[in-house]
Subunit: 384 residues, 4 copies
């Protein structure tokens, strides 16, 4: 029996690994351990405790680790706190493998703690390039990780070039696609959303054309955060269509974005926008699958978006170097550019499905690799 421990640190994390959790659970030779930390426990960013339980999983340990402030200082401090907590939790749970997902800043905490404790570390999404500070984090985790579950050939090739040992690299696709592939993608109504998630704002009808907006902070552009979000706000104001808008994640700058949105609401009371903190993955997929255009800088427009062929306007630098499908138009930060690109997408409509982030069977492949690997060597030996 092998204990596989997955550390989930945000709602997005959960969506990107859920199919692998199911595959782990279905295998007799694996015992799944789930740890929740960071924003995954916070209502403000989308507490996933209830969702995980209702999906039939058991949570082994929970740790509050987000230090308030939403500044670069507290991003670092929260990471330190998470390492401190995980060291105790790993020591008590004693897992055989730890799996960490993606590149959010707290992910580094899982990577450092597991590798320092001589626990083999598996990592998803290694080798991707977004063109932001997340790259440094993702690539640093690659250097610590013992098993790489990459999502496409470009990433796979990159890891080879960097000298990672071939037997550690597995191109399995993105588990986020698994969820999309098997999802119920029927339209969702404003009423359903409202009842389940509350939120604030007007009641835009979702049986017409509607937009989905997600604008997260770019931590290296911390000083320009207010300027950038104002442009996005101006664009949405000009488009004035039914819009579902998600509050930002917890990266440094988040509080600035939230405060600009609140101030806009206060002054303009826009009845065509409804704001949600977060919604469950399945409802999220139904929502974006039927929207006319996604706007902002979330990677879901690029990843899930390509699989589903959703027209998307990708704003600014946050996804700079990430592999993109035809469904994406990238713009600068100005309201003008955003509006113009959105209009083009609205007239274009849906795209063909593009499997650049996997075919929807990643979770099963991940579980197979972990289950079948006899021993994972702790000492890495780069090929050069």
């Amino acid at each position: 029996m092998k204990d596989v421990c997955v550390v989930i640190i945000s709602r997005a994390n959960y969506g990107r690994i859920k199919s692998a959790l199911s595959s782990f659970k279905s295998k007799d030779e694996l015992n799944l351990q789930i740890i929740l930390g960071a924003s995954a426990l916070l209502d403000k960013y989308g507490n996933v405790v209830e969702q995980i339980k209702s999906d039939g999983f058991t949570i082994d340990s929970k740790a509050y680790t987000t230090v308030e402030g939403e500044t670069p200082t507290t991003m670092a401090k929260s990471t330190g706190l998470l390492i401190s907590e995980l060291s105790t939790i790993f020591n008590n749970l004693d897992p055989d493998v730890v799996l960490t997902v993606g590149d959010k800043y707290e992910t580094m905490a899982t990577a450092v703690t597991a590798t320092y404790m001589n626990i083999p570390l598996a990592h998803t999404m290694g080798g991707e390039v977004s063109g932001t500070i997340d790259d440094s984090i993702r690539h640093a985790i690659t250097r610590l990780a013992h098993v790489h579950f990459v999502t496409n050939e470009i990433s796979e090739d990159r890891l080879h070039r960097w000298g990672e040992e071939p037997e550690r690299i597995h191109n399995v696709g993105c588990p986020g696609m698994d969820t999309v592939k098997n999802a119920d993608l029927s339209p969702i109504s404003m009423g359903e959303l409202k009842e389940r998630y509350g939120g604030v704002g007007g009641q835009p009808p979702l049986d017409e054309d509607y937009l989905v907006v997600m604008h997260h902070p770019v931590t290296t552009e911390y000083e320009d955060t207010r300027h950038h979000i104002r442009e996005t706000i101006d664009a949405i104001r000009e488009l004035q269509m039914p819009t579902i808008w998600f509050w930002p994640n917890s990266d440094a700058g988040s509080e600035k974005i939230a405060s600009e949105i609140r101030s806009f609401r206060e002054k303009n009371d826009p009845d065509y926008i409804h704001y949600f903190k977060n919604i469950q993955v399945n409802d999220f997929n139904r929502l974006i699958a039927n929207c006319s255009c996604m706007i902002g800088n979330s990677s879901s427009a690029i990843r899930e978006g390509s699989f589903l062929g959703i027209p998307a306007v990708n704003v600014g630098t946050r996804q700079n170097a990430r592999k993109k499908g035809d469904n994406v138009i990238t713009t600068g930060y100005s309201a003008e550019e955003i509006v113009s690109a959105t209009k083009n997408q609205l007239s274009h409509g849906y795209y063909e499905s593009d499997k650049i982030y996997g075919d929807g069977n990643a979770g099963e492949r991940i579980a197979n690799v972990i289950s079948e690997t006899k021993t994972i060597k702790l000492q890495k030996e780069l090929t050069y």
Copy 2:
């Protein structure tokens, strides 16, 4: 005026960066900030507070961050605690550049904190390969660092191959060589050492042939630690020559090594060995420059040793893949191999000086690069 902040986390760290500190201090356009953390504050591992002050530097902040236990768990937890502390200290000192040294596990704390806080990070020794877990840490830090001060061409070449941007890479040599180059290397007597550093054990004469032993834990071989140190002890017992032995550093396994050494002393009371916790860099250089052979797994046998041509027996895997000069014979862990290699070295005697880790001007070059660089771009763009 540019604030350059150096985080020192061990006695070895200080020795490896001291010449750069002097160069920083001598430049009007730079303001040096020094932070001490981790084992640099602990008497047991060589508190460097007094030495740093007597060398004329001012310490800006001190933080105790080593969690007791000397296990893999506490290595992780101590790193988390150091991140937490550094985030507050950086926030208060507000440096323009942070410099971190080498690859000890706590070094990662400096790297994570600085980069998360959008402070440009410079790193020494990037691209070296020792063949131990330190490699993962060193390479992960390279992925976070914005400026790389490498010590030789092999390292430089490796960083290029990994896609690090050429303008960020500076082959300056190892600042540890600077200290050696300018050092007084006259013989040191047992009496001098005893008076300055106390220590325990016999009074071996240092005007005869003598050995210097350093055996540190290999964290990935945590379970075999006791077996390995016993072999080294047996070897020294068979050689039975005047010997100066240094207690191990604070990595996981350290307590096991110390306990075996104590137990050996208790039973055998070997009057030919004297044990020190640590001694100042200048006295250390005098000590090794005049010894007949260095034994163990410290990198100083390989780095300073090559510059000074000191015969060295490198035991086990800890320095596996590190670039070595002719002065080094590497052996397995058995007492037999260690004894035989040492006898070979004793009959060979001193080697030619080999400049594979630099020519002794690294500190000045580092200070020049930092002083002359206008802006350090935070967003890294790997060449592939």
Copy 3:
């Protein structure tokens, strides 16, 4: 020269110690050190950095220590984190005396850290009884503190009965009264407030009768928090007068209160209420000095309120056992009781000033005691 270090952990804290800070600063033999931590740095709860600077003080160190979640778990964890940070800061600043204010949960961190580090601890508000969990914290700090600055004779008497040594007890009054006494208490307009502090909600006129509402969580009644705030909301809704409402402090339950208020706003859009996170002490005093009734469970209705003779309705158990003046009517949690008591207060109008919390010279007395005390004995010897 004596270094007096004051740790400020919230906006309320600052208001309650500001006059002492001024007195410290005016004395040549004292050197004031100011540390900011916890909610004092958070915009959400009233960041006081700018105010402290504009009042002419220098901040020596800042530490983010509030762990997100606003649950009992994070109250404890935040306190642990603050201790960890303060230990490093005290070690670097090396104060001769530390002063801590009141009974907010983080105050315990200052008390534990200073006393564990053998630094004499002075404490304000010892011996007060509010009838809530704050009592346990306040009384525990009294047991740690070396100098007690109490605010009235009842408190003084209590400390004597508990065996605290008489020479450590100083009845100086509450420094919060000093600020009130010397304050400009002219009316403040909605326009002024809005311009300075933003806030959200309607524009109630403040030249008519108006209410000031503060409803904080009671941590031991964590489970009933939503029920209680809903009653207060219902009462205000029924009264439907111009109202200024302050968001709750950061105690566990705070997020529940905020969410109920937001939900009420969403549904009812009450134009007679304006909500502020916090405002500066001087503007706060102008605001309450001219209101018709204070409603809620803040101690300012009882302390500043008695000095100024402001009609107040004190809701629920949070101030249960605190000494109250004639200006206060205490009620249960029901909307009905709150409405009825408020109507009584509106018809009564202003009360006589009551000096039960001091005459307005506390800060000067505190500074004198600290300045004149030669040595503060660390070893306490209770009288029984």
Copy 4:
């Protein structure tokens, strides 16, 4: 079913609560949870993991929390870290009652965390007075605790005088006496001890008259620590009898004491002394029950010593105000006084058993109270 959680933070802690653990375990309506933290996990201070397991208990969670340095700064920081860890552990274990033992500095962490998290806190040894800084900690914990298990009438009376509610106070005696009462007190040989615990030093025969020495640091006399331990060393040197000496606990100053002892051993190689880090409670009781005199400042000479009638010399201020039986002679710190008092005790021999710390049934009484109490009110209401 009621979950009773006991936090054990040192070897001494375990000895003082073991009988209660057995009673908890024997009751169907109680579920025992055990958390180990601080020095209870450290070999250096007496890791109790193996002992607890071999006594048949299950450990629910372990947390490393001791920050190295053994200074006042690290005492505070370690306490902060323990709070941070306990908050997560309590949140995951969700106990109904938490029990904390005595007054070691980390005990405060348990008290703060439990009470802040609204978990009823029971405390042993409240109301005792030792005349050291521990008093402040013990009394502060009393103010936080909801149930007081005191060990004698004097303590009981003190708590009444301080206004603690009578129904919360239970005079049950000290659970440490339970262990003594039921113990096998047959003589133990040097050979047995050596085989089980190793230790260092000579092989003094224990079938002759022998001494047991324990000298712990007094944190408020941190600066005089070296002076004091040297006097004790001189005394033992003059007495020159078979002696078993225990290394000090982890309070600030501990490293100074250890270093003086090591230096004494180095110079004098005293074959009449054997040093142990710690031994199991049962062997400890056999050892002290048959010694001729206990010397030092440990409370076991006063507590277990009175029950067993062991002649004891209590050195210095550490136990100043603790209730003492006839078996104790208290002296100043000078070697002369210690030698003279010890000679008096050697010629006096054993004393009558004195039950001032309980009759040996404390554990059962504690379990009964906890099992029978329906609800423990969280809100304390002091009687004045």
